[in-house]
Amino acid sequence: MSRRLAPEAWRRVEALFQGAVALPEAERPAFLDAECAGAPELRQRVAALLAADSGAGDFLEQPAAERLGVLLGDGAPATPSTDNWAGRQIGPYRIVRELGRGGMGTVYLAERTDGQFEQRVALKVIRHGPRGEDLHRRFLRERQILAHLQHPHIARLLDGGLAEAGLPYFVMEYVEGEAITDYCARRRLAPETMLRLFENVCGAVHYAHRNLIVHRDLKPSNILVTTGGEVKLLDFGIAKLLGEGADEGLTGTVLPLTPAYAAPEQLRGEPVTTAADVYALGVVLYELLAGRRPFASAGESPGGLAAALVAGQPERPSSVAQLAQAGTEALDPRAVQRARRRLRGDLDNIALTALRKDPDRRYSSAEALAEDLRRHLAGLPVRARPDTLRYRAGKFARRHRLGVAAAGLAVAVLLATAGAALWQARRATAETHKAEAVTHFLVGLFEVSDPAKSRGAAITAREILDQGAVRIRGELASQPEVNAELLQTLASVYTALGLYDRAKPLAQEVLELRRRTLSPRDPRVADSLDGLGRVLLARSDFAHTEPLLLKALELRRSAFGARNAKVAESLASLADLRHEQGKFDEAMQLRQEALATTRAAAGEASPETARRLAELARGFEGQGDYRAAEGALRQALAIDRAQLGETHPRVASALHELGIVLSILGKYAEARDCLEKALALRERVLGADHPDVGETLMQLASVEDDMGHAAESEAPSQRALVIFRHAYGEDSPEVANAINERAIQDLSLNRYEAAVDKFRDVLRRHEHTYGAAHPVTLVVKGNLGLALTYAGRFEEAEPIMRAMIDSRSKALGSQNIDLANDYKNLGALLVYEGRAAEALAVHRDALERYRKAYGESNDAYAYTLAGLAEAEALGGDLKHAETHVRQALATLTKTYPGGHPRIQGRQLILATFLLQQHRPAEAEPILRRSLAYCEKTDGEGDWRTAWSRLLLGQALSQLERKAEAEPLLRKAQAALAAHPNRIKLLSPYAKSALHSLG
């Protein structure tokens, strides 16, 4: 009978059907006879419908999702059964209670009642399967083999039989336990523990395979873990027996498989091998790692899901598990971080290998799978990927961490971050061949830097990175996010290497790229904002830095909440900006906040906390609290040393900072020690041209100068200047600072005019970069004033110094300790100018500041005290003057046990006071020593040597040893005639003595 009905015909059938069902059953035939006279086909159709209507029962009354649940989950409908078998006797077993319902039937807890064994068993009645007799016959055939399956992790099949109504049943070892996925999730097992459990599963499966038994229906509900932590596999053999029904063409095509765990070939109905079990193991492993099954994803197009199951690639378990935390790891070349990523990488690959569509490409056995897991846990390369070049290279980098040169370090960082970027590449980009292309590219990069592979040419990190940039753009142009990730990393690496000119365009490019391709609130956009902000900050481009950093902070806060390390990083970046802008108080608050946040997020002893501590120290320095800075830096250094190792670049940075602070506090020897260590580390790790090396060189020069070894400070500061010119460019503030440093050295070497010129140059540069009111500019102004003072140009010096003090008072607060130095310098100027009362007042002010901040036994106090003494002498109070200068000398000789210009200078002053009080006998020895020192240090023609000589002559004169005095005096006079500018710097007494010589 043809089925195809025309719509009009259907109308008729429908109408008749509806008419008929409204009638009592007995009346229907008559109705049909009447309506369908002469149309037998019509009658037949309506009759068929009526028959269907009465026989349909509750057909379609249960809506569709029930079937969906069946298809998605356990593979067969769980038909509601109204019977209860508790208490029934089946063979030698009595049913105690129902344990559960499964795809094929019901499982009961039963007891053996024939007195043979006291045993509780699981009794499984097969309701939905091949015909009972057939199944039982099969069971008897296989019984020998199945009984031989004796393995501690396999629940034994004990017996089988036929129950009433021909229903087959099986009796198995009773296992009380949880599905392995639940077990691991509930106990939050560590990965290693979880994997060891899984290894046991693999072992059991492999054992069964060797006995020619394929499970065919492995899934978590068949893999139980007892409370004792023992793994037990259920239903081995049963699925096999059931599955064979399809092959033998028996009635009912029951498919005892669970689609989610079934291998593609099983779904297609192809012959099943041990590879299908390996696949199922892969799914379970995936579920253990990722928390859900592969392909359990939303948003697939219709039909795409089916295609995916059979032909598509599952997402990597680590990327699935990671979905909660978007955003990348911050650039940090620590082996711990790298190892953790590779941990995921290995496991990802192991799971995915087991899940390959092509059975031949999976692990050849469950044992091979277990073997790879064992290798992974031991830290050895795994076989999951036949292309092992990357693995060899990666393992090499990890095992030889300390030996990898700076270039390798940079590239290994790139590798690790790129690796992370690959893991996070979305579905759309995770096509195998593209992933392999990226891998090959990275391997190629690394090969070049691996010393064993490079062909002898000195390839620098910079060259590798430059190559990298070109290749990333070319080869990964089609994968925007992987591309962006790598470029971002590259920009960070450039920044870390100090190559800001290269870093900036890259950072801009990535930011634009991410803005185009990602949601504006994606945390990765925040990373790019922060990255570019940092580069700009390094170039002192404050105006552009600020909006970037603020935006990044806001994004991160809203994405991650308050207690997060990335938010802390943004706070720290912002603090740096404020610090550079001279807003020290605000910078401090931000730093404290960043530290507290990092402590909460990462712990007390983590390297991030160390970083915040170092930044905090810088903040303390900005406030002038160098003691607190020292404390913070020592803490940071301890953490970094412990966590990162002695040779890590951050240890070098901490040493560098500590050296600076110690030198300010006057602990010069220790400061130099720190700086030398820092320099050595930085040269080794960063290369001799790195700006950070320049920074350390500058500091070393400064310390040498402070220690009185002005000559020793020249070489390092010259080298630093060259480095900065190359790295930052001529107009950079770094070059300006280097020039400032050299100017200070000029002061120490008595090259005052040169110093003035340099300071003017620096001032001009800083005014341009920072503005006239910026603290750094003001410091240089003070330096200029000092230089002008020494150059004898008092009239020029005074207004500059006063203006500078005024500005600094406003900017730093009038009580800031740095002002003390300014006042001291001003006081010295006033002394030179002969303005005793003002000089006294100013010196007293300065002294008071130092006393409050540092106490009385420090160098700064001592210098100021000596200055006060000069002012007192100027005013005629020689008694106090002498006391004070002696006091000052006592302090200073503790710091400078040997000779030192600053001590010599004060000695000269003391001698002057003594001569003024007509105590030449006490003055003579001092002056002889002074002269000897000056001749050695400053040379014959130097004006200070002349000064000493002059005073010695005076002393001898006072001692009535005119014959000895005369030649000295003449020589001094002649020498000083050559330095007319320096005469102004002589003490009033010396000046008048000179004058009296005629």
Partner: protein, 188 residues
């Protein structure tokens, strides 16, 4: 990526505005959500529990159509029904083996009779429903709403702008048609 509710609302209005492509994407969206929800529920249910279609559809609706307004509910149900149907068919196709052994028996309530493979049943139903829809489009839609979207008689009546009595009657007719058609399938 915009949140899914926003996407849904936009697509819905685009579709009503006549954008044909929006219809496909809308379907895609609903398919995805429904599927995910079903998965989620299966995972969290014990063996033997049945999935509630109504709950599934309702939850999906809640998730997607938050901002879309009451008048769109019916559009949504239609979409959901079609999506559910498609999901089932997709899965069933995976299950189906090349051979269809003889002796398919339709599930009844006895519990003792072996059931046919659920996948095969779904595919057979699919064919029957296609046939019905060809002959009577309205009945086809009705079955979709009742069976695939799990709507009650009243809800179906509202969605189709019919009286509940009509829906009851039509549902009976459709069921008979399909049952009959399925029987024919089996005989083949």
């Amino acid at each position: 990526m915009l949140p899914v509710e926003t996407q849904f609302a936009r697509l819905l209005s685009a579709w009503r505005g006549g954008d044909r492509e929006a219809s496909d994407r809308l379907f895609s969206l609903v398919y995805g959500e429904l599927h995910a929800l079903a998965h989620h529920q299966v995972r969290n249910s014990r063996p033997g529990d049945t999935l509630s279609t109504t709950a599934l559809v309702h939850e999906t609706y809640l998730k997607l159509a938050r901002g879309a307004g009451p008048v769109d509910r019916h559009h949504f149900y239609a979409l959901a029904a079609r999506a559910m149907r498609q999901i089932l068919v997709d899965y069933a196709r995976l299950h189906a083996t090349a051979k269809r052994g003889g002796g398919l028996r339709i599930t009844s309530l006895d519990g003792e009779e072996p059931a046919i493979a659920p996948a095969v049943e779904v595919l057979a139903l699919e064919d029957a429903l296609a046939e019905l829809a060809e002959v009577d489009e309205r009945l086809g839609r009705l079955v979709e709403l009742r069976f695939y979207a799990g709507l009650s008689i009243e809800a179906t009546a509202e969605a189709m702008a019919l009286s509940p009595a009509t829906v009851k009657r039509d549902w009976r007719t459709a069921r008979a048609f399909l049952f009959d058609a399925l029987g024919q399938e089996i005989a083949r």
